[in-house]
């Protein structure tokens, strides 16, 4: 590390004001601070600072996402070999999934970070870390077979129009990863939903060649339920991709088709534990999303008319993006409500809306994305009313003394 430090010190003058590489100043700074803690010391105010910075915060979120990412990769491999009717070891399945997902992660990071670096340079600011999380979220919430160019286009759109035009990380109104997802969903619906997109049947870098067996169906459990002809939930059974019945534990551990991030509720809960323990994610938001969801399901169950309305609450939480959205998307501090009371309301309404969209919109079996985006727009309004309570209290206090 010492040699590296010396090298950095040697080349640093090139990037400073007047240096011939000054136009790469932000980029140099980003790499330098990635390698070494900046040794700039406080000039005003407090003389000591907490060791937690933006990089640390984002690192924790990424670490929290890793279990879900790994389980998702394994799930991709598992379903691939199942669809092809081939036997493979756990490691082979994982490697297949890893190689299938890796290009998406690379594309999302290269495009997103590329834009961030350029814009930071133009603004003469330091590169913000927000995209490190967004960049890994994007591959985790899109179907595994999404073409790379689509991811590139959607990422570029979201980073520029959902974030940078508003001023960059910390100023955006909508969750950037979800805007990417929404852009894909509305621009390329055929690649984003249906039975064909959730299981990767093609080979990855030559691994896992074969043809799909008869009786294969790539529909997600929620997709099956949305299109079922069954009159009641009791008559309906969830099926895996080769027609085998799915148990609750399959759904919990992630042996179901779906987006990479959302399949394993178990892995998501591991991430949630880390976020809550470190205080990086708000447990209030997480809990209230589940509460809102539970209330909605109970209400819907009471007035059930068909299978999906009868589906009990545990299935709602285990299937689709509900848990993933609650833990990793709703808790994005920038786009969420910022007051503590506001977080309860914000989370509750997300849960409520997500279930409502799921149940009452047969064309669109998953409601989490739209619910969160919708509530992103309302978060400032919720905060406004919470803070208004404080303002009114202050005015009331002043009144009698006059």
């Amino acid at each position: 590390m010492k040699a590296l430090r010396k090298y950095l010190d040697k080349i640093k003058p090139n990037f400073e004001e007047g240096g011939k590489l000054h136009w790469l100043h932000s980029t140099f700074d980003a790499f330098e601070t990635f390698l070494f803690v900046p040794n700039s010391t406080s000039r005003s105010g407090v003389h000591i600072h907490d060791a937690r910075d933006s990089k640390r915060t984002m690192t924790i979120v990424i670490v929290a996402l890793i279990p879900a990412l790994l389980m998702g990769m394994y799930s991709v491999g598992l379903h691939h070999y199942m669809a092809l009717g081939l036997e493979a070891s756990i490691l082979t399945k994982f490697i297949y999934g890893f190689l299938a997902v890796l290009p998406q992660i690379v594309v999302s990071y290269v495009v997103g970070l590329g834009i961030e670096f350029i814009i930071a340079q133009i603004r003469k600011e330091e590169v913000a870390e927000g995209f490190l999380v967004t960049g890994i979220l994007i591959p985790m919430i899109v179907p595994v077979d999404t073409p790379l160019w689509m991811i590139a286009v959607a990422t570029a759109f979201a980073v520029i129009f959902a974030k940078e035009v508003f001023g960059g990380t910390g100023y955006n109104i909508f969750n950037v990863a979800l805007v990417t997802r929404a852009f894909l969903f509305f621009s390329y619906p055929s690649k984003m939903s249906g039975d064909q997109v959730w299981v990767r049947t093609a080979d990855t870098f030559g691994i896992g060649k074969g043809t799909v067996i008869d009786g294969f169906s790539g529909a997600t459990p929620l997709g099956q339920l949305a299109t079922t002809g069954a009159g009641s939930f009791g008559e309906f059974t969830f099926q895996g991709i080769t027609g085998q019945p799915l148990s609750i534990s399959d759904m919990f551990f992630g042996f179901i088709p779906g987006s990479i991030g959302e399949v394993s509720t178990f892995a998501i809960l591991l991430g949630a534990a880390l976020l809550i323990m470190t205080g990086v994610g708000s447990w209030k938001t997480m809990l209230s999303v589940f509460l809102g969801g539970a209330v909605a399901v109970v209400l819907v169950n009471l007035f059930a008319q068909n299978a999906i309305m009868e589906m009990p609450v545990q299935y709602h939480f285990l299937l689709g993006g509900f848990a993933f959205g609650a833990i990793f998307m709703a808790t994005d501090p920038v786009t969420s409500a910022r007051t503590e009371k506001g977080k309860w309301i914000y989370g509750f309404l997300i849960g409520l809306l997500a279930i409502t969209i799921r149940v009452f919109n047969p064309g669109y079996p998953e409601g989490m994305m739209l619910a969160i985006l919708f509530m992103n727009a309302f978060a400032p309004l919720i905060d406004f009313y919470v803070i208004d309570g404080n303002i009114k209290r202050r005015l009331k206090r002043a009144a009698p003394s006059k």
């Binding site: 060791a51 927000g130 205080g279 501090p333």
Partner: protein, 448 residues
Amino acid sequence: MANRINIKKGLQIPLLGAVEEIIRGTVKSEFVRICPEDFHGITPKLAVRVDDTVKAGTGLFYEKNHPDMLFASPVSGVVTAIERGEKRRILRIVVKADSTVQYADFGAKQVASLSGEEVKKSILDAGIWFLIKQRPYDVVASPVKEPRDIFVTGFDTAPLAPSTDFLLKDREADLQTGLDALAKLTTGKVYLSVSTKTTLKGLREAKNVVITEFNGPHPAGNVGVQINNIKPVNRGETVWTLNAVDVAIIGRLFNKGITDLTRTVALTGSEVKQRGYYNMVIGTELKSIFAGNVTEGVSLRYISGNPLTGRKIDENGELGAYDSQVTVIPEGDDMHEAFGWASLSPKRYSAGATYLPFHKKFRLDARLMGGPRAIIVSNEYDKVFPMDIYPEQLIKAIIAFNIDRMEQLGIYEVAPEDFALCEFVDTSKLELQRIVRTGLDLLRKEME
């Protein structure tokens, strides 16, 4: 039985370098330097010239808008220099101290027999009015505006802070006289706050005041937090604030008839070898207590005050007018820590739980530990801000300088020091105290 208020929000930063309760001696320096900038919110006008002879208590300068508000020389001697900065701003007034102090005689007075106006005039004449500050704006109190109440904090919860009990040990009579004098200055009440740990009788059993007991971590000792929890400041109201040590200085004026700006100062911080208390007047050069008594071979930061709100000085610096604490910590600019974002180093401290708590006490340096960002993490400030105010929203209103919004969100109740802990924990490394200070100054200009 005193009313008790529990403060839950806050943070006691576990720093190495707490002070030992020993008086290590009296420090005298050849020159004493007074910085008018220590006294916030005043425009200084010189009352002396170079080569003038002064006594302890003679006014060195006065406030432009209140010429009767003098600022006393803490020692007797000869004015040797007036240091000036940009636009002829007065930076320091240097007095070469006599070997024995000669005090200007103001005459001992019985507070009980004085009127409020007489008490006020005595304090102004003696040049120690600056000990009284006011909310709103956190500036030296305006003597013409009647305060609703006066708040005195009787304990200090800042990191490594000295014990107020210890500082006031032999000054209990002065303290009571000071409190009696304050009671003459308001038609409202004088509120004195003590900690659950306070044992000094002079504080616990002080008379002529309303005593409130506070229990909790820093910033429970900040007078702003106490006001907000006892009787908040509303728009249009003014309250005066002091700390108990300064009240004793006012008390001494009436008991002895002299301006004695001697403070007992705690020398603290992880880089000090022999920590303890020293007696000295404000403006004393501190080099003699640093010499040979600090860690060698590393770059150091000297602070007059505590590590959260103190002023940066150098090793030849002097004691600030309001400070009872001097701190030395590592500067940290010679450090190159690799991969800090992934670090599991037990030397790193965070109030949150993003680092494992291996150690109980920490040696923190002056690094920012990150780069400035937009406000991203929510509920960070609230956790260390025990007032009925939304700190993040108030900061945003100040940055936007939206006067209506600032008023609505409680700008009149806060001082920069109330945001010190927010600034410490801030993931985005924003200079919150500077933002609040600038906001208060601009607002004052608009309103007055």
